[in-house]
């Protein structure tokens, strides 16, 4: 008997939920806003689906409805990727420690 590859993906999924659970609980509450913006940015990895949808398919037939939805998704995801990571970067750059006592 062979195991359906779906089961492997399901295992990855379930284990990742647990990883997410433990990793996110260790995030300090003061960084919860950057946490949201960075999770938002990484969930835009959905762009890989969009790229396949847009580019695959017979050459020359790139403006099929299916491809166009792919292209639209690429724009949306690109806004999110750049916007999400950069705004996170900008926020994180603001978190500073108290300056050490001047001597």
């Amino acid at each position: 008997m062979e195991i359906d590859p779906f089961i492997f993906r399901l295992s990855i999924f379930i284990l990742s939920i647990f990883i997410g659970y433990f990793v996110v609980w260790s995030v300090t509450p003061s960084l919860h806003t950057p946490l949201m913006s960075v999770t938002n940015a990484i969930s835009s990895v959905i762009i890989v689906g969009a790229i396949i949808a847009a580019l695959a398919g017979e050459a020359g037939n790139i403006f099929d409805t299916a491809n166009i939805f792919g292209f639209l998704a690429i724009i949306l995801a690109a806004v999110n990727i750049f916007g999400g990571f950069l705004v996170t970067q900008r926020m994180l750059a603001m978190y500073k420690k108290k300056k050490k006592d001047k001597k």
Binding site: R9, I12, F13, S16, I17, I19, G20, V23, V24, P29, S30, L31, H32, T33, P34, L35, M36, S37, V38, N40, A41, I42, S43, S44, V45, I47, V48, G49, A50, I51, I52, A53, L55, A56, G57, A59, I62, T65, N67, F69, G70, F71, A73, I74, L76, A77, A78, N80, I81, F82, G83, G84, F85, L86, T88, M91, M94, Y95, K97, K98
Partner: protein, 465 residues
């Protein structure tokens, strides 16, 4: 071209890098490095996908142009957005992820050969379930986030919109989506797929409109979670590990944040989702209490009190964000520190409109993060502090939560502001806060009300110091 196995390894690597990106956020020092890991992970995922598709003709050119357009829009927004607008920005971004998930699902449905899902009209059952779930959750995330965005932006009123039978309607729509997915698997009918998306779009709107302004932290976290589950659904369809890992991470992250926010209000998740707080309990609160005596003061009184204090705790809330008072506040604190006053900040978990909202604003105003404390860390210090300066917060300081079992906020953890020797309460009027209940603190002997805009009052105090 690149072999499927190698491709899968690269996707795994970017999944791991995303985990490290979240891991970095456990402290501000490691967070910047974490963000870099996230960016590298994303670059790997996009890079290998382009190589694997191996289409470097016209399509590739369009891809680059679109990446450039989307990227510039995103970059522009990221640098232009004021920190106070962060909640609506995040809501807006969630809507984009949701819509992208819907688009990818539609594309996969229309052209399943590309993703090896079978052929049109004969898509594998498992893939159909996965893609319609992904599309449905994506659609809910999309419209829900748009509503949240409009509410946060003030384009739509923040007050809950409720009508009779709302929850039953939502329930019916939810069941309809599941039934339609079931029949979609049986019939492979196009029109059912579109109906599923339409109903889900409607459901997203209906789910968010009954939720009021101050419950937004829960809503945003919840939508964050949904966008993750939508991505995971698409990840299963496309058999893509990076997408599955990321979806699971984001989904659980959002769920945990929702849980933390609900706990911060001592309410169950369903209680928040099922609608307005202020809307239901208004009647009990409007019992005429208005005649109680209130001590009010001006900036000089406040300055005098704080200058002579040895320790001051600042309690910021949403009002500070609205008035953009964080910079003035920091200046005031600097002046106090020069006078030898010890100052710290106390932040309630649900202060503001999203998790960590206050922390970001204070960080923007250059407040060092080691002067900012969470509720549990600082609550005992109120008893020994001389002045508590409440700026733009209200319900989270209301002692009624500890004393009156009848009160809608009973049991909610609050900052023990009333234990401070004196309380300075900056507020525009005596009106009740979001929960629609009177704050006992206003009438205490040790409370001095400062009726003014948070920023103006703080600036005046600086002048008087």
């Amino acid at each position: 071209m690149i072999s499927a196995n190698l491709l899968a390894v690269f996707y795994l690597i970017s999944g791991v890098l995303f985990i490290l990106a979240l891991r970095g956020l456990s402290s501000p020092e490691t967070s910047r490095q974490g963000n870099l890991f996230g960016i590298i992970g994303m670059a790997i995922a996009i890079g290998v996908t382009i190589v694997s598709v191996g289409n470097f003709s016209t399509g590739f050119l369009y891809l680059l142009i679109l990446l450039l357009i989307g990227g510039s829009i995103g970059t522009f927004i990221a640098f232009k957005i004021p920190m106070t607008a962060m909640p609506e920005l995040v809501a807006g971004f969630h809507s984009l992820v949701g819509l992208a998930a819907v688009f990818v699902a539609i594309s996969a449905f229309l052209n399943p050969e590309v993703f090896n899902l079978g052929s049109q009209g004969n898509i594998k059952i498992a893939s159909l379930i996965e893609m319609s779930l992904g599309a449905a959750i994506g659609a809910i995330t999309f419209t829900g986030s748009v509503i949240a965005f409009l509410k946060l932006r003030g384009i739509m009123s923040g007050s809950p919109i409720t009508f009779k039978g709302q929850h039953y309607l939502n329930l019916i729509l939810g069941i309809a989506v599941i039934v339609f997915i079931f029949y979609l698997c049986k019939t492979q009918s196009d029109s059912l797929f579109w109906r599923i998306i339409e109903i889900s779009l409607l459901l997203g709107i209906l789910l968010i409109i009954p939720i009021g302004g101050a419950d937004m932290p829960v809503v945003i976290s919840m939508l964050n979670s949904y966008s993750g589950w939508a991505a995971a659904g698409i990840g299963f369809t496309l058999e893509n590990t990076a997408l599955i890992i990321t979806g699971a991470l984001v989904g659980s992250s959002g769920a945990i944040l929702s849980y933390i926010m609900c706990k911060g209000m001592n309410r169950s998740f369903f209680n928040v989702i099922l609608g307005g707080w202020g809307a239901t309990d208004q009647s009990s609160s409007s019992k005429s209490k208005e005649q109680k005596p209130v001590k009010s003061g001006n900036a000089e009184d406040a300055a005098f009190l704080m200058k002579n204090a040895s320790s001051v705790i600042i309690v910021p809330g949403y009002g500070m964000a609205v008035a953009q008072a964080q910079h003035a506040l920091r200046e005031m604190v600097d002046t106090l520190k020069k006078n030898g006053v010890k100052v710290s900040y106390a932040i309630h978990p649900v202060a503001g409109r999203m998790p960590g909202h206050m922390n970001v604003l204070l960080a923007e105003a250059n407040v060092p993060y080691d002067e900012v404390f969470e509720l549990e860390e600082i609550n005992n210090d109120f008893a020994s502090c001389d002045v508590a300066y409440v700026i733009g917060a209200n319900d989270v300081t209301n002692p009624v939560a500890k004393t009156d079992p009848q009160s809608p906020i009973y049991g909610m953890p609050i900052l023990d502001v009333e234990k401070a020797k004196s309380v300075l309460f900056v507020k525009r009027s005596l009106s009740p806060g979001y929960a629609g209940i009177d704050n006992d603190l206003f009438y205490r002997d040790n409370t001095l009300m400062l009726f003014a805009d948070a920023k103006k009052m703080t600036e005046e105090i600086i002048k008087s110091l």
